[in-house]
Structure formats: structure tokens, C-alpha cells
């Protein structure tokens, strides 16, 4: 029994059917961690991107160094830092939040590059034309640069959403009961690992295919020339 749900070991089919709702409980945690981690990555990435294009190198360099550090170290290190080191300084976060935060921090390094790349890909002539017309820098950013950068940025962010989802099982090591962890526990208790693990693989496959189709849809349907302004 798990999450108050009994499993039925009378046949393989019955077993699979009976553990499905248990796995869905895990799936909900997985999706929650994905979404929360993703939003942290979106916000933190924006901050990092802004710092990396700051006017002074005393801000730019530390931000770039931090990005490199995050990118070049395993997610598990960020996770352990947040889970074991922060409490040494008196800050203890719930396991789920710690996990989502670790995902967010890890992926902010990537999203910041997506933002930066997307903004830099807008032709320099666009900035020059805006300047020649005396448009204010803020207006240039929000109405000239951003609408042209977003169609490049969104599909790339979508790909990272999928990656985050696939990284969620790592949170199992800090006791977050996400879907793969649930499957393993079912295996531990029933002695049958093949079915729960295969089902988790199948669920992941379906989710990833759906997400990838979504990303591809965005990629082909977002206007390459920018979000149109009449």
C-alpha cells in the first residue's frame, strides 16, 4: 500500500492497473517540481542575463563566472548545497522547495543564455534605426527588440522545460517523492521492478513527445519576424 492505495498482485495486468494511480501521485509531484523549477529558472535567468550585460565588468564577470560554475557542475552539487549546506547557516527549506530551487538555479544558467542569444540575434540595424528615430531605450527594448527576440526565445525555453522534467528524478536523493522514486519504492515493497519502472518510462516518453510537439508547433507558428504590432 502506498498513498493509501492498495496494489493488486494477482496478475501482471492487475498489478499495472492498480499501481497506475499511485504513479500518478508521483507524476503530480514531478510536474509540480518541473513547473516551479522552470519558473525559477525563467526569473533567475532573466536576472543573470541582465547582470551579464551590465555596463560594468565588475558585475558582468562575476555573473559570467557564476553561470559557468553552474553549467560545469552536476545538478546534484547544487542540490546538496541547498539541502545540506544551507541548514548549516540556519536556513532549512522543505525538500520539495529545495529540489525545485536547485533545478531553477541549474537551468537559470541555460535560460540566461537563451535570453541573451535571442536578444543579440536581433539585427543591430534595428537598434540603430530605433536610435536614429530617437525612441527611448526602454521603448526600443519592449517594442522593437523583445517582439523580435521572443519567437527565438520561446521554443528554446520549451526545450529546457522538457530537460527539467527529465532531471526531476535527481530530487529523489533529497527525499522528494517524484514519480521515479515512487516506482522504485513500489518495486522495493513488491519485489517487482519491471512493471513500475517501465510504466514510468512510458509516461515520460508520452510527456516528452507531447512537449516536443508543442515546442515544434511554437517554433513553426511563432512569426519569425517578430510578434506583429499593427
Amino acid at each position: 500500500m502506498f498513498f493509501g492505495i492498495e496494489w493488486d498482485t494477482s496478475s501482471q495486468w492487475a498489478f499495472a492497473v492498480s499501481i497506475f494511480p499511485i504513479l500518478l501521485h508521483g507524476l503530480v509531484i514531478t510536474l509540480e517540481a518541473t513547473v516551479v523549477g522552470f519558473f525559477i529558472a525563467l526569473a533567475l535567468g532573466l536576472v543573470l542575463a541582465a547582470l551579464k550585460s551590465a555596463p560594468t565588468r565588475f558585475i558582468r564577470w562575476p555573473a559570467k563566472l557564476l553561470t559557468e560554475f553552474i553549467r560545469d557542475t552536476p545538478l546534484l552539487i547544487q542540490l546538496f548545497f541547498l539541502f545540506y549546506v544551507l541548514p548549516e547557516f540556519g536556513l532549512t527549506l522543505p525538500a520539495f522547495l529545495t529540489g525545485a530551487l536547485a533545478l531553477g538555479v541549474q537551468y537559470s544558467a541555460y535560460t540566461s543564455e537563451v535570453y541573451r542569444g535571442g536578444l543579440e540575434a536581433v539585427a543591430s540595424g534595428q537598434r540603430e534605426a530605433a536610435r536614429a528615430l530617437n525612441l527611448a531605450p526602454a521603448r526600443t527594448f519592449t517594442h522593437i527588440i523583445l517582439p523580435q527576440a521572443i519567437p527565438r526565445i520561446i521554443p528554446a525555453l520549451g526545450n529546457y522545460l522538457v530537460s527539467i522534467m527529465k532531471d526531476v528524478p535527481v530530487l529523489g536523493v533529497v527525499t522528494v517523492l517524484e514519480m521515479l522514486g515512487v516506482a522504485r519504492i513500489i518495486g522495493d515493497r513488491t519485489g517487482g521492478y519491471l512493471i513500475p519502472l517501465t510504466m514510468v518510462g512510458g509516461i515520460y516518453l508520452i510527456l516528452t513527445i507531447i512537449a516536443s510537439l508543442g515546442v515544434r508547433y511554437l517554433d513553426t507558428h511563432l512569426p519569425k519576424r517578430g510578434l506583429s504590432l499593427k
Binding site: 540595424g125 534605426a129 528615430l133 525612441l135 527611448a136 512569426p223 499593427k230
Partner: protein
């Protein structure tokens, strides 16, 4: 000289509207404008010609405040462009000063640089509404007038990519005019166009050249056109004006060897 006379001088129409005073522009060690002295009178139509890399675009880009200078002073309407006055001194200009000065100039780019995500009409109204504070209806009305001037009223609701290159550049000209500049800068406005589309753009520029008050600074390789519309031709070489004068003089009787060689190369390239 006290301030009062300075300001009166600045508004007197006999003064040059543009004046480069020993202007130096470098990219690294590469000197692109070499103590350039250059003046343009109000309403004058000046064409800059010269070999690639001689600094033609740089002159326009400096005027449009897209490229800062390293030394010397540029004056527009008697006011220093890249400097502002503090007492008798000239100090590097801040953004508010640059904004103010920029409003006198309009620029037409070789690559058009239209905003691809905005309709043609929106391209013409965005800056007037945001920068000049004109209300939307008024800006649209004025935008349509400008489109009529460049013969594109039927394209108002299209996006730039739906237009031919020649049409896009006509929109580019209209967009610059929408800000009511005193000086129009054209940097090779027809160089990116297929040959059959050059004429329609030149016709629009030609009609602008008839406007008495508008000062025009044109970089082009269209020598025949330059000869028709210009009051003066400046031949640039290595960041300086090597030779300048009336079109008929420059084109029929150039004095400098460099000018002769350049004109020979562009006028009959098959020799």
C-alpha cells in the same frame, strides 16, 4: 565671445548647418576620419563619393550619433553635437543632449532597417507618437500623407517583407521624414536594390531634393543621379575630402589624380 552672440550666431541662417571641425574618428589604430573639416549649408544637397573604406558612412553615422568621435568638434545648427557647453568649455555630451540633437536628423539606411514586426503604417507612426507625442490619429493621417508622397498608400497595412526592396526603401524614407528632420542622411539608399528598383527610390529622393529647406547628405554610387540633384560633390579619400565642387566641375574636370582614377573606375568599370 559671450553666450548671447554665440546663440545669435547659431540661429543665423548664413551659418553652416553642419560643420566638422578637425574631426578624428578611429577604430583601434585605424584612422577613419583624419582631422576632417567639412561644412554643409542650410538647404544644401551634398553628395559624398569615394572609394570603399574612405569614411563616407562614418560621416553620416557620426552625424546620426550612431558613432562617437575621438577628437575635434561636430556642429549641427551651430550647436556642438558630441559635446555640450559648460561655460566656455566643451564637455562630452550626455544622452539628453544627444537626444535633442538627434531630433534634427533623419537617416535612410542601405539595408532599410524597417521594423519587420510592424505594419508599414506603424513603422511611420511609432516614433512620432512615442517621441514627438503626436496623438495616434494625427500620426496616422500624417503617415498616410507620407505614404502618398512615396506612392505607397495601398501598402499601409502590409508588413515590410510583403514589399519589394524598392517599396521598403521608400517606406524607410517616409519613416525618417515622419520625424520632420532638418537634415536627411542617405547612406547608399539604393545599393541593396535590384537594378530595376533603383529608379523608383531615386525618384522619391529627387522630389525631396526640390524642397528648399531640407538639407540632404547623400552617399551613393549613382553618379548620374548625384550629378542631377547635388549642389556639391565631395570626393572622400582616406578620411578626408580630397576634392569638392560643383557636380559639373567634379565630373567633367576633376583636378586630383585620385578623383580622376575613382571616377574612371566607377563611370566606365569595363575599361
Amino acid at each position: 565671445m559671450n553666450n548671447a552672440t554665440e546663440i545669435r550666431d547659431a540661429t543665423e541662417s548664413s551659418d553652416p548647418i553642419i560643420k566638422f571641425d578637425k574631426v578624428v574618428k578611429r577604430f583601434g589604430d585605424h584612422v577613419v576620419l583624419d582631422e576632417l573639416d567639412f561644412e554643409v549649408q542650410r538647404g544644401e544637397k551634398v553628395t559624398i563619393i569615394g572609394p570603399s573604406g574612405s569614411g563616407k558612412s562614418t560621416v553620416l553615422r557620426v552625424l546620426m550619433t550612431l558613432e562617437p568621435i575621438n577628437d575635434g568638434v561636430v556642429y549641427v545648427g551651430g550647436e556642438p553635437l558630441w559635446h555640450q557647453r559648460r561655460g566656455d568649455e566643451l564637455i562630452p555630451a550626455g544622452e539628453p543632449h544627444l537626444r535633442e540633437m538627434r531630433s534634427h536628423m533623419g537617416m535612410v539606411f542601405q539595408q532599410f532597417n524597417l521594423f519587420p514586426h510592424m505594419t508599414v503604417l506603424r513603422n511611420l507612426t511609432e516614433a512620432p507618437v512615442q517621441v514627438l507625442g503626436i496623438n495616434k490619429a494625427e500620426a496616422k493621417k500624417r503617415g498616410m500623407e507620407l505614404l502618398e508622397m512615396v506612392g505607397l498608400t495601398d501598402q499601409a497595412d502590409k508588413y515590410p517583407h510583403q514589399l519589394s526592396g524598392g517599396q521598403q526603401q521608400r517606406v524607410g524614407i517616409a519613416r525618417a521624414l515622419a520625424m520632420r528632420p532638418k537634415v536627411m542622411l542617405f547612406d547608399e539608399p539604393t545599393s541593396a536594390l535590384d537594378p530595376e528598383l533603383v529608379g523608383e527610390v531615386l525618384n522619391v529622393i529627387r522630389s525631396l531634393a526640390d524642397e528648399h529647406d531640407l538639407t540632404m547628405l547623400l552617399v551613393t554610387h549613382e553618379m548620374h543621379f548625384a550629378r542631377q540633384v547635388s549642389d556639391r560633390i565631395c570626393f572622400f579619400d582616406q578620411g578626408r575630402i580630397k576634392e569638392q565642387g560643383k557636380p559639373e566641375d567634379i565630373f567633367t574636370a576633376p583636378k586630383e589624380e585620385r578623383t580622376k582614377a575613382f571616377l574612371k573606375a566607377v563611370l566606365d568599370p569595363d575599361d
